[in-house]
């Protein structure tokens, strides 16, 4: 007898009545309880047997579903109405007149994104080679410029020593607050200033510190005014 009713347990039409564990997950308003029970009774009548076990389970589920519906009603949780359909006249698209889109950016913006690319992100750029620059060096022009730079540098040194009222300063003072490239530039100019006899460069053997001493003579105390 039980074998005959197994089909009923597993039939999808009545599944809601026999899957007791799922009861609390049901959308109760979507279950047509009366209809489901009627078809089940018809099926059982067709079989001509009464198996009290599934009938009991079905009755239990039906009562729970019914109770859930009543509770929801009290909470005013009414079945949702079908969504309001919006009937739309065939509206023409609004055509916005042309607005110019002025693109604004400055050198600062380009620099910002370039520094992000070069220093912050791991961008694959090793394959990008700079094209060969047409590097035409004009030696004479270069030497004239170099002399100018040395002169400028010596003048700055002279002012610095004068300000300090001391004929010796620490090399570190000369390169504080500048980037590596500028530090190298200043060091080279210092070597040139030493070669021309304006300064002497001394290194402390113990600490390794470099001192710069003004030996340019009269110019220091003399005529910087």
């Amino acid at each position: 007898m039980a074998e005959k009713t197994v089909a009923i347990w597993s039939d999808h039409r009545w599944r809601v009545l026999f899957d007791v564990a799922r009861l609390d997950r049901l959308k109760v308003w979507e279950i047509r309880l009366v209809e489901i029970l009627r078809t089940l009774i018809k099926e059982l009548e067709k079989l001509g047997v009464i198996d009290l076990n599934p009938c009991g389970v079905a009755l239990y589920s039906a009562s729970i579903i019914h109770r859930m519906k009543s509770e929801r009603l009290l909470k005013a949780d009414l079945p949702s109405q079908p969504r309001e359909k919006i009937t739309m006249p065939p509206l023409p698209p609004i055509d916005i007149p042309i607005q110019p889109e002025v693109v604004l950016f400055t050198l600062q913006d380009v620099l910002k994104s370039l520094s992000r690319i070069l220093y912050e992100e791991n961008v694959k750029t090793s394959f990008v080679e700079h094209p060969q620059e047409n590097f035409m060096l004009n030696i004479e022009e270069y030497l004239v410029k170099l002399e100018e730079k040395v002169e400028e540098f010596v003048k700055t040194l002279q002012d610095l020593f004068h300000q300090k009222k001391n004929d010796e300063i620490d090399f570190r003072e000369l390169v504080s607050c500048v980037d590596r490239l500028e530090a190298v530039r200043r060091f080279i100019l210092l070597l040139l200033a030493a070669a021309r006899g304006y300064v002497e460069i001394l290194q402390d053997e113990e600490t390794g510190e470099i001192k710069v001493k003004w030996i340019g003579g009269k110019e220091l105390s003399g005529d910087s005014s």
Binding site: R83, I86, M88, P89, P90, L91, P92, P93, I94, D95, I96, P97, I98, Q99, P100, E101, V102, L104
Partner: protein
């Protein structure tokens, strides 16, 4: 900037109006000129008007409600220029969403999404970004309205009824144009057949 000349004030206002491509409030103009009083701005605007509001210009400077000024292309050049401007401001879909909001406003965002489909959310974001629509939170959803900017473009006061009427009359015009086209085509066919 009390010391700045009127000419410099005029240039700054022109710069902002040109780059903004939208109506700009007097307050913003005062801020860019670092001026606290309106009178200098007002006279600078009159100067600019002399430059633009002449017959020989395709651009016009208009004053709008709410203390706003707008440097824009004259209407009669829109159609002509459209073909050459590569990127229209909005796609057809976005423009339809805009016309839906304009017609039904104030309207809940969720309703716009039902009527216009899922991409409506993206459209709405863009429309808000460009200043054509504004949203006001209300519970779980948002209430959408079009802005003064749109009313300006349609050339009507910023009021839902007037905007709807403007849209309806545009719709009628469009239908009339289409009807005229069909009739013309039918006439032509008839004439051919009669020949």
């Amino acid at each position: 900037m009390a010391g700045k000349s009127l000419a410099e004030i005029v240039r700054r206002i022109e710069a902002l109006l040109f780059a903004a491509s939208r109506p700009v409030q007097l307050k913003e103009l005062m801020s860019i000129c670092r001026l606290r009083k309106r009178d200098k701005i007002i006279s600078a605007i009159s100067e600019l008007k002399k430059k633009y509001n002449v017959e020989d210009s395709a651009i016009e400077l208009v004053e709008l409600q709410g203390d706003r000024v707008f440097l824009r292309l004259k209407k009669e050049y829109h159609e002509l220029v459209k073909r050459y401007v590569r990127k229209p401001l909005f796609s057809r879909g976005v423009m339809k969403t805009l016309s839906f909001i304009a017609y039904y406003q104030p309207v809940e965002q969720s309703k716009v999404a039902i009527a216009r489909g899922g991409s409506a959310y993206r459209h709405i974001k863009l429309l808000i970004e460009k200043g054509f629509v504004e949203a006001e939170k209300k519970g779980k959803t948002k209430i959408l309205r079009t802005t003064e900017l749109l009313a300006d473009f349609l050339g009507v006061p910023n009021n839902p009824v007037m905007i709807r009427r403007a849209l309806e009359s545009r719709l009628l015009q469009q239908q009339a144009r289409e009807h005229a086209k069909t009739t013309k085509r039918e006439d032509a066919t008839e004439t051919k057949q009669n020949l």
